[in-house]
Symmetry: C2
Subunit: 119 residues, 2 copies
Amino acid sequence: MTDDERLPQPPTADIDLVTVLHALGDPVRMRLLLSYADGAEHSCAPRDLGLDHLHKSTVSHHMRVLREAGVTTTRVAGRNRFVSLRRTDLDARFPGLLDALLASAPDPDLLPPPAPVPA
Amino acid sequence: MTDDERLPQPPTADIDLVTVLHALGDPVRMRLLLSYADGAEHSCAPRDLGLDHLHKSTVSHHMRVLREAGVTTTRVAGRNRFVSLRRTDLDARFPGLLDALLASAPDPDLLPPPAPVPA
DNA sequence: GGGATTGGTGGATGATTGTCAAACCATTCC
DNA sequence: GGAATGGTTTGACAATCATCCACCAATCCC
């Protein structure tokens, strides 16, 4: 459970507001945030996240950005990684921010438009 | 006064959360936001903003990003521009977001480290 | 053990971006 | 009119970034 291995992430006190905002200032990562907003753990499969149009390494990259910004935590269990929101840490560091973000976040279905990948 | 000319800015309904977060995900622009948090109008002089280390065209660029994201409004009066926060619009669009941001924003003095003001 | 599954790493590439410098423009002041 | 003031625009350049691709690593299952 909690004593599983975790991918590197900043300690709560080191979470930087500008870094968090930069991490969330991207449509893909905002969609990830909304997926994680349910508090549950999520796998990394692009399919499960409405990101079917993106290469898995791209999704991996975005998840790393979120993790290194302190937004998410990744638990490693076997060959699976379970990503979840660091809600408690974020609430402690930036009271009200996450609630405000989630309250005014756009409908997930509207987020990454169709993602027209230029051939 | 209010009926002075204003530089182009998005209507309130078009202010996009991801765009705002992207705009604020930069140390310089975060410092600008904190300067504007007092609700007053501010000139564009880097001096007045603790951005003496930046070229005026760079500051102009950052202010444009903020304005086009819908964060600020710019009133044109003569040869001066007066920039201020669109607090009402932002609060209407993203309730609680601005308060949470300002509450957890870092000390302005800590933001862009260098900025040695030549006396 | 061998193969399939899950996911990450590193390189390459094109797009954005942050910055400065110099030119430019409008307004005000002399 | 001419100079000074306050900002914007454009161009250049380096750095960052988002994306893809090919390959790699660990784990699970038979």
